[in-house]
């Protein structure tokens, strides 16, 4: 009896699974450098303008940022439980995937609220920056901090949106009974991706919200 999930160039399902893991980690390594470039740039400019970065950070909402971090950590837990369900032919695979996606949407919603506050307070880099009520007290390089803030959290949010699309894909597959303990490779791979996006935020949060 042939395994329709086993591609012809692999000898065993385990070999295929391990190869998929290597491929995904190779991709994640490129993502580490991708975000790493922005972290490196951030490190340089924070060293050069420590006061402006501290000032910019003080304008971010610490409560929303902390809540968002907890939301993402919880979504990683539900993703890990989803993989466990797949590994054990558990009944709740689709629910755990759904919970992960829901938490991801909550995260993006809170981010949207934060972005709206920034637009409202004239803290978006560009012509409009600093034209709000605290224009007199802003240091010149604080605009640079906000450039980093929007670039890094924006890129992270884009990765979240992509992750949501991937979760929808395996969520549909899960509800159709596509996965089992014999074959759950896509669930594991998207789990790796999702955890990685969580790790990026684990570093973004202290670097942006907790300066000074």
């Amino acid at each position: 009896m042939s395994d329709s999930n086993l591609a012809h160039h692999f000898d065993t399902p385990t070999q295929q699974f391990e190869a998929a893991k290597l491929g995904m980690w190779l991709f994640l390594a490129t993502e580490v450098l991708f975000f790493g470039g922005m972290f490196a740039g951030y490190t340089v400019y924070r060293t050069l303008h420590p006061d402006a970065f501290a000032q910019g950070s003080s304008h971010l909402d610490l409560v929303l940022g902390t809540v968002n971090t907890a939301v993402l950590l919880l979504s990683s837990l539900s993703m890990a439980l989803a993989v466990h369900a797949a590994q054990t032919n558990g009944k709740r695979l689709a629910q755990f995937i759904g919970a992960t996606a829901l938490l991801g949407i909550v995260f993006l919603g809170i981010k949207a609220v934060e972005y709206r506050h920034k637009f409202h307070d004239h803290l978006v880099p560009g012509e409009d920056f600093g034209t709000g009520t605290h224009a007199e007290t802003l240091l010149p390089s604080t605009e640079l901090f906000f450039s980093f803030y929007f670039a890094m959290t924006g890129m992270h949010a884009l990765h979240m949106v992509i992750g949501l699309g991937l979760l929808a894909w395996i969520g549909i597959g899960a509800s159709r009974g596509r996965f089992s303990k014999e074959y759950y490779t896509p669930v594991e791979m998207i789990g790796l991706y999702w955890h990685f996006v969580d790790i990026v935020w684990v570093f973004l949060f202290p670097f942006l919200y907790l300066i000074g």
């Binding site: 399902p13 980690w25 390594a29 490190t43 340089v44 990683s76 466990h84 684990v202 907790l210």
Partner: protein, 118 residues
Amino acid sequence: MDRSHHHVIEPKTYYTVFAALLVLLVLTVAAAQIPNPLVNIVVAITIAVVKAALIVLYFMHVRYSNSLVQLFVVAGFAWLMLLIALTLSDFSTRGWDRWESDIDRGRPPIATETMALE
């Protein structure tokens, strides 16, 4: 047909890791209240690294993966360390603001034959 022996981590481990992550989150927010900026950065980075390590080892199953996967993981972060270390060693050894340069004197920074050593 081979029996795939993927290590299954019990949910209890996941819950414990999650609880640890939340505790670390509270710690990192609390540590940010300490007025010393150097302590702030060191504690923040340390806690972030510990959280990331927990997620990598347990949620991403790297603790129970084969050594090739573990090598790939380490390699990715090693290259990031290289990026940051070499960039910072460049910036921290520049002489900006340390002595007056040609540009400060209003001259282009080009050597000419009549220029004396200063």
